[in-house]
């Protein structure tokens, strides 16, 4: 993956496949430039045995082949900076994935286009789940909730109408720029 936002897109797809109804993505940068990315879903969750398996490149729920690289790749990129990935999951309740990275490390990937990540998630999964993005840094904070947009649009208009996707993309970029400015490529 070329940047952190692509990792988030990839990992959030796991939540979609776990049949979550709400996927919460939080990206926070603290004063020491440590980045914490938390992905929380209320999907089907994983039992202990699977939880251990998905951290390995050779663990996956797929039946078509034997590799699953999403989580291992994220863990590798976090560990390169001195950070790590932790996973907590309860079957039937949901999963929380937390990645910490040292933003000062030369090996830390850039943040990338978080707005693009959220909008492609919404575009590809317009009906369910809902997505909640919260971001904060010493420069400010924001939140974006598809439930609010869904409510404003009513039942007839889908969230993946091109004009709505583009509106979300622009408004997210506008809001994220002052918070992560310089970290966004």
């Amino acid at each position: 993956m070329r940047d952190l936002s692509l990792h988030l897109l990839d990992l959030a797809e796991n939540s979609v496949r776990a049949k979550a109804s709400l996927v919460e993505i939080d990206v926070s940068v603290n004063e020491e430039k440590w980045i914490t990315m938390t992905l929380k879903d209320d999907g089907c969750g994983m039992d202990k045995e699977l939880l251990e398996r998905v951290m390995s490149p050779f663990g996956t729920t797929r039946t078509t082949r034997k590799v699953g690289l999403g989580i291992p790749l994220m863990a590798q990129n976090a560990r390169l900076t001195g950070g790590d990935v932790t996973l907590e999951s309860t079957p039937g309740v949901g999963t929380v994935l937390k990645a910490t990275l040292d933003g000062k490390s030369i090996d830390c990937l850039p943040m990338g286009d978080l707005a693009g990540t959220v909008v492609s998630l919404v575009t590809a999964n317009p009906d369910t789940p809902d997505f909640l993005l919260t971001c904060s840094s010493p420069k400010g904070s924001m939140s974006f909730d598809t439930r609010e947009i869904r409510q404003a649009l009513g039942d007839e208009v889908s969230l993946n109408e091109p004009e709505i996707s583009m509106w979300m993309l622009e408004s997210l970029r506008e809001e994220l720029q002052p918070i992560f400015g310089g970290m966004i490529l």
Binding site: V119, T123, V157, P162, I164
Partner: protein, 125 residues
């Protein structure tokens, strides 16, 4: 956040387009982007965003964009399938945002697939 009033105006316009789509159901076009780990790592996200942008700019109300997982040809990602009514599926490989413009203009609007970007052309090499 850009204003909610703006969203309301978009909603009104979109409702009109949705009605148009219902009347012309047999003309609906589907664009499916591969968005598994392999697709994302190869650059599927900007490709999908470029499709949304082009479709929006051209006001193509009968086109919908969706995603699929990994189909086992990771080396050809980003891959995009285009389903035109009454035609066979066309699979594009190694897609980039730059290629999207031509696919939309020549294939989706004018009905002529861009042969050189298709999986058939890539496999012949």
């Amino acid at each position: 956040m850009k204003s909610m009033a703006e969203l309301e105006a978009i909603r009104q316009r979109t409702l009109q387009r949705i009605n148009l789509r219902r009347e012309d159901e047999d003309k609906n076009v589907r664009v499916v982007v591969g968005m598994a780990t392999c697709g994302i790592a190869a650059g599927a996200r900007p490709v999908m965003m470029k499709f949304m942008d082009e479709i929006n700019t051209r006001g193509l109300s009968q086109v919908t964009v969706s995603q699929t997982g990994c189909i086992g040809m990771c080396r050809l990602e980003p891959m995009v399938d285009v389903y035109m009514p009454g035609k066979e599926k066309v699979t594009y490989v190694h897609m980039t945002p730059e290629k999207v413009g031509r696919v939309v203009a020549e294939h989706i609007v004018n009905g002529r697939p861009v042969t050189e970007y298709t999986i058939g052309a890539a496999e012949d090499k």
